[in-house]
Amino acid sequence: MDDPTTVPPALEAVGLGKQYRGDWALRDCDFAVPAGRICGVVGPNGAGKSTLLGLAARLLAPTEGELRVLGEPATAPELRARVAYVAQDKPLYPGFTVAETLRLGSELNPAWDDEMAQQIVEQGELKQRARIGSLSGGQRTRVSLALALGKRPDLLLLDEPMADLDPLARHQLMGTLMAEAAERGTTIVLSSHILPELDGVIDFLLLVQRGRIRLAGDLEDILDGHQLLTGPAEAAGADALPAEVLVEQRVGGRRATALVRTGEPLDGPWEGGRPGLEDLLLGYLRAPAATGPGTTPGEATPMNDEVAA
């Protein structure tokens, strides 16, 4: 891994916003994803995840604010060779064969790694002469990832890459992605709905909710800065836990469960500890975005410390 102090962030957003026909899909986004990280972009449907990836891939232009990619303004033409993007709908030419699609990749990319691309296709036992249009969704995903990895990018942007893959293919391709990151220090930014798929894979988190960045930072730091508490149901109530740290609480039977945004012990009949990734994400996704800490980007909330870290 490179020294993070000399390598510019893979993505750096300042006041980034994107508006479609009057509606803001993303607004007031400030974050930096350091180079060499595996970053998960998580959030409910319509939160702005695909817009965020589209901006990073330079398919979309920001309405306001600034986005730098690998230290360059997002409009810099030299980024084209250094960034690979796999869109959610995996756009490929349906009339091309697998072989023709990879040939196109080799013609269009000066640093093309044919061995890498072929290996990914062979691992899925795809026939070279098969037409893209005749492949299943999961097989098209495999060809798309072969194209993206064959390009040997410094930044790999993947929008819901694993959704239509079977468990074996998902495991193989995630292993291939991780090996690429290990060998070349590739930064990978991937969005996913499948929370367990990200556990053990990502080391950086961007939580997007209603077009805002709710959490951004090193995953271990974020988990250390939260607790999942349980206590008697009576302990849950309007003033039971300080509002400035309470993310979400629920009462089930005689027990109450609360996710709080502090690593410090709290007064009261609560016990608990560091949440897992899934506990953390579900807590935030269940909480209404209008309440809780860290909902107002730009203010001096703990979130900004994590963004700066």
């Binding site: 891994m1 074996l168 495991h171 991780m178 990151a181 290990a182 894979v201 080391d203």
Partner: protein, 167 residues
């Protein structure tokens, strides 16, 4: 993608890759040296699992001084975990003086944790085998024996009782 010809080959068992665990088997010559099994839902962090499994292999003598640990790339290709996690686990093992990185070559075992007293043909093991047989004859199931053993270990180690002072 270029592998040196003498680099240990890593083989994936496709049956092991389905679901939330996976197996890595490092083959040196023809003998498996270490196998990491990552359980995603065990509650133990991935990094701790690698540290613990390496130490276990050192205790059992499966890993010996001079053996090479699999590279981060080899581990993550088959387990699909974050490479930084593997590096973190190896750094922890290095801090404890168990392994050392050799630049450009890999990470190598420095020190064994194997205790000759605990060897397969040692008297301690023979005593324990005799005791377990006795417990089974007395009607204890595997779980009963494990619970009893855990309870005694806790009593003897965690309450500060030293072996020299019998109760």
């Amino acid at each position: 993608m270029v592998r040196a010809p003498d680099t240990p080959r890593v083989r994936l068992d496709p049956r092991a890759a389905v679901g939330h665990h996976s197996t890595i088997e490092l083959v040196k010559g023809r003998n498996a040296v270490i196998e990491y099994r990552i359980e995603r839902r065990s509650g133990v962090s991935t990094y701790q699992q690698i540290v613990q499994q390496t130490k276990q292999a050192l205790r059992l003598g499966l890993l010996q001084p001079g053996d090479k640990l699999p590279t981060a790339r080899e581990v993550v290709e088959l387990t699909a975990i974050n490479p930084n996690t593997v590096l973190k686990a190896y750094r922890e093992l290095e801090r404890e003086g168990l392994v050392e990185p050799r630049p450009g070559l890999g990470t190598f075992v420095r020190r064994s944790l194997a205790r000759p007293e605990a060897a397969a043909d040692g008297p301690l093991r023979a005593d324990l085998v005799g005791w377990v047989d006795q417990a089974r004859e007395a009607g204890l199931e595997r779980e009963d024996i494990a619970a009893l053993m855990a309870s005694v270990l806790e009593q003897r180690f965690d309450t500060g009782v030293s072996p020299a002072t019998p109760n």
